[in-house]
């Protein structure tokens, strides 16, 4: 029994430490300049970095714009939804 408890605790710790990704998905309606501005505002990206992620969204359909702990990821997704971007929170592989 003690072994099971230890294993469960380890799994829980692993789950908590697994990084989460904030993923932005392509939406052809949102203007490229608008998406770039949103990335600069929400994540404090330079214009170049913001434009790089915007182009990745545009060409590849999605871009991981941030990785880290779940709570902060949820906060960023909420902010992105406030700007009407299509954004999801996904557990990192």
């Amino acid at each position: 029994m003690p072994e099971t408890v230890v294993e469960k605790q380890t799994r829980t710790k692993e789950a908590a430490e697994t990084p989460w990704n904030v993923v932005v998905h392509n939406d052809p309606v949102n203007l490229m300049s608008y998406v770039t501005m949103v990335f600069q505002r929400v994540f404090g990206f330079s214009r170049e970095r913001a434009a790089k992620h915007m182009l990745e969204v545009h060409h590849s359909g999605r871009s991981i714009v941030w990785s880290g702990v779940r709570e902060l990821g949820e906060h960023y997704v909420q902010q992105l939804h406030g700007y009407l971007l299509l954004a999801t929170l996904e557990k990192s592989d």
């Binding site: 052809p28 309606v29 203007l31 501005m37 949820e74 939804h81 406030g82 700007y83």
Partner: protein
């Protein structure tokens, strides 16, 4: 139509003819997703690709009300600004102009984005539709809606340029 910075706190929208004035006045109504599930789903999209995720349920309960408030507040600000359109003295044909406080630009950007997304969702516009040629001489409600999406996009671009300085 000309959009320019008046001073540090205001920008000017001038040379607005009757047709464009109606498009401006149509922004708040266009942003209303009422009657379209597709439009509502687009404005309040899921924060998770997993339909059974805990986040989805929590989102509906705790985050969506905040988003609703944010979107409604942006529309309210734009509505109040639109009420201040005034005729340009001596213009022939008649024109209108509007002064928009710079501090309202975020609300305008948000409201215009809501309107564009709602129209696109209502009409099921695809990337191909949006990149297709469009004409001011709309032949159908769908053509007119596409023109609206592009005109509101033009306004967004102009406001973004002014915000950029």
């Amino acid at each position: 139509m000309e959009i320019s910075r008046l001073d540090a706190d205001n920008l000017s929208v001038a040379g607005v003819d009757f047709f464009l004035l109606e498009l401006f006045r149509g922004i708040p109504a266009a942003a209303d997703p009422e009657g379209s599930d597709a439009a509502r789903e687009r404005l309040f999209s899921s924060p998770s690709a997993d339909p059974s995720s805990r986040l989805r349920a929590e989102w509906k309960e705790y985050v969506e009300p905040d988003l609703r408030h944010l979107f409604a507040s942006a529309i309210e600000t734009v509505n109040a600004d639109l009420a201040r359109f005034e005729p340009t003295e001596g213009a022939d044909p008649p024109e209108s102009r509007l002064t928009i406080p710079t501090k309202h630009l975020d609300a305008w950007l948000n409201c215009l984005n809501q309107a564009r997304l709602v129209i696109a969702a209502r009409h099921g516009f695809t990337e191909i539709d949006l990149n297709d040629e469009f004409s001011i001489l709309a032949q159908s409600p769908r053509d007119f809606a596409l023109f609206q999406v592009h005109f509101y996009g033009l306004l967004q671009e102009s406001f973004l340029r002014l915000l950029d300085g």
